[in-house]
Amino acid sequence: MSTTQEHPIKLASENLELYYGEKRALHGINMQIPERRVTALIGPSGCGKSTFLRCFNRMNDLIPGVRISGRATLDGEDLYGRGLDVVELRRRVGMVFQKSNPFPKTIWENVAFGPRLLGTRKRADLDEIVQRSLQNAALWDDVKDRLQSSALGLSGGQQQRLCIARALAVEPEVLLMDEPASALDPIATSRIEELIHELKERYTIVIVTHNMQQAARVSDYTAFFYMGELIEFDKTPTIFTNPREGRTEDYITGRFG
């Protein structure tokens, strides 16, 4: 039910189950996420979509009482297997959150932070990475004359793009986005959406959103989650014009009681 089959698979889950203590948050999810495409995860609050997203860079490890079974893979490699380097995983799988979270440092230092941590030392190399990352996040023109100013002086939309630039600086393969535009005004939102559209040429993007029109606009594939289950996964135009499942239909037409 949950394969796309028309494109190489970047991320996948097999019978993925996740418990928060006694509560089962994910019920055996089987899903294959295509490479260099945008996949949107939608569903009502508490349906498991953010939990599922966070499995792919092991962000749930940090929550006490979490138990996971089944498999989550990146290029076929088990992310919960022995000997997996979580730091390397998080370099390959970057994340952007709902609330922008720049470090209380300069713009330059925010973007250079990751590459420095991973061992890049030369100033010229770092300058190049900072410029390229800011350009790729469509922020360079806004900030090129004030790279040494505090990142906290940027607008909300600019801060969010800075966080995307910071994620891009370590050359990831996948970007996980958890409601990246829900705290932004419509213009800043539309710039993020445009950016997502550009970024999918090089990155595999998985986005969680409560805004269904946003899911419809930015994604190639849409997965609908409900009460910890994956109900339906298909091409986005199909989901929004002719979904197979009644529960998907009810949710996207606003009939969920």
């Binding site: 002719n242 239909e249 606003g254 009681g257």
Partner: protein
């Protein structure tokens, strides 16, 4: 299941009622325009002509309602298909209304002259065309794609009757040149009825799209 948004729910209901009202008026117009011809009742024909104004007004109201809902509600899935259906079939209904008016106008013209032959196939065409439209709208109400598919098949019956009428009238005109004007008027009526059946077929096709999410038009062009 009902919408969480009651106003949206009410708008969808209003759209459905307006469509079915327009459908009911044009169904009646088909029957009455041909009845006006068969029983030579020009007063009835004039009523059909006057009544068409209601369909025109409904067409404008339905278009406005659809545009408003598309702009404000961002409909999806079956709601989106319903509004698409409404926008498309309202044009078919309005055209059927206009064609029934054309039939009524010809009826008034023919009723002023001596009858040419008793009408047999023309009332049959009108009955089938009206049944097709009625079934298509019933299929919409019931969400029944099987009924809608039967409507599409019946279009052939009307086409065959049209060809029969056409051949007969050509023979009559060849044999009696001085009745050509009357024969032509009858031929036009047959053509209008054949077109009405085509529009009813369009409605049925859109009803299948609404129910199944599948476009069944032009199978041979794809």
């Amino acid at each position: 299941m009902y919408h969480t948004d009651k106003i949206y729910e009410a708008e969808l209901k209003e759209l459905r009622e307006k469509l079915l009202t327009a459908g009911g008026i044009v169904e009646q117009a088909i029957v009455r325009s041909v009845q006006a011809l068969a029983v030579r009742d020009s007063k009835l024909a004039q009523e059909v002509i006057d009544n068409d104004r209601r369909v025109n007004l409904l067409e404008v109201e339905i278009d406005e309602l659809c545009l408003r809902m598309l702009a404000l509600r961002q409909p999806a899935a079956s709601d989106l298909r319903f509004i698409t259906l409404a926008l498309k079939i309202v044009t078919d209904l309005e055209r059927i209304g206009d064609l029934a008016v054309n039939v009524a106008e010809r009826a008034i013209q023919l009723n002023d002259e001596p009858p040419l032959r008793p009408y047999v196939d023309i009332p049959r065409m009108a009955t089938i065309a009206e049944e097709m439209l009625k079934s298509a709208l019933d299929a919409f109400v019931a969400g029944d794609a099987t009924t809608a598919r039967k409507v599409i098949e019946r279009d052939n019956e009307v086409d065959e009757l049209y060809h029969t009428v056409f051949r007969e009238l050509v023979e009559i005109m060849a044999a009696e040149p001085d009745v050509t004007a009357r024969a032509m008027a009858i031929l036009f009526i047959a053509k209008h009825l054949e077109r009405i059946a085509d529009h009813a077929t369009n409605v049925a096709e859109m009803v299948i799209f609404f129910i199944e999410g599948k476009d069944v038009r032009h199978p041979r062009s794809r």
